[in-house]
Symmetry: C3
Subunit: 144 residues, 3 copies
């Protein structure tokens, strides 16, 4: 039996759930700049598909724009679905948020299909009252 | 970078999460009248399958009864799964709740399959302390 | 229209959501003893695959170890995904937590697939400040 990890209070937990619902909605609806604005200026995103993290809002936005264009060309909608979230406060005021993310793909006229399941580990910080991602590491379950 | 939308406080967020868990459970277990009672008297539901919204508890209950009978005949269970929820309070005291809804279908003896993914936009109001749906608009991702 | 069931307050709801996220992460990452420690000493788990509940931490841990070994041999990852949670406080201080649980299976190199959808009904109790499962009953949708 291990000690229970420190748990963010309910108001912070609800805030982080809201944060993800909005952030993923920006991504899935192709609002690339708004999505990039949910990271810090020098925020980094290490997706499983790239050897190095993407760093900074301009490159983050470019990546999101390219992804949206690819999906539009394929006439497909992606929905990022976050769940199984834990939020652990650190001494420096940041939050470590760990979750599962499912990506559901829906083709025009076609069935919905479960495209991917990833684990997501974010470091969230607060700037001017808003939560922002300082560092995101995403891992796929189907890769070693 | 856009301003963060006003966020319902944690107690309201948890209440809305509870509301959906109960409401969808009524629907999936065929409790048609109880499900209809989670809408206001003149509540409306605009599903993607109909040209006009269904309005009022008697018609809502009839629709739910018919859906349950169809599933029973097909020996299939549907589970509505709500996630990626945002709850935004309006000046008139109502709440706009936006979410993704997955429908998982499970045939007797058969595998579970992801049947549909929809977006759901509800206007929730409080009557006698209880949350009720005044207006629901559901959109499917696989239709233009 | 039925009376609304008593709803656990937001802080308890967030705590239970955290509890499940951690508990299922232990299970899915093969931390069998830690997972068993999220049950009471004599906690019981009635899975749909067994005629009798498994009772007590040693047997719970053994079951989790066997499941993890089977998945490792099959080079497959399982992710338990809890949602549609309701938490209802009882007079004796325990909580009844009802949820849907999806199990997503991901084979090495293969696609993610929805393996199962279950309903989970737990009685949670507090010991030394920590939530623990005293009794778990899991039901599969594809079995009568």
């Amino acid at each position: 039996m291990t000690a229970q990890a420190p748990t963010a209070p309910a108001d912070v937990y609800a805030e982080v759930q809201h944060f993800y619902a909005r952030q993923m909605r920006y991504l899935d609806s192709g609002e690339a700049e708004t999505w990039a604005g949910t990271f810090t200026e020098d925020g980094s995103f290490a997706p499983p598909s790239l050897p190095e993290p993407v760093r900074g809002r301009p490159l983050l936005a470019e990546g999101a724009r390219n992804a949206a264009a690819g999906l539009a060309a394929a006439r497909e909608t992606h929905r990022h679905w976050v769940g199984m979230l834990t939020v652990t406060p650190a001494d420096d005021g940041s939050l470590t948020a760990e979750s599962l993310v499912s990506i559901v793909a829906v083709a025009q006229g076609g069935p919905a299909r479960l495209h991917l399941v990833c684990t997501c580990r974010d470091v969230l910080v607060r700037e001017g009252g808003r939560l922002l991602v300082r560092e995101r590491v995403v891992t796929r379950d189907d890769r070693p």
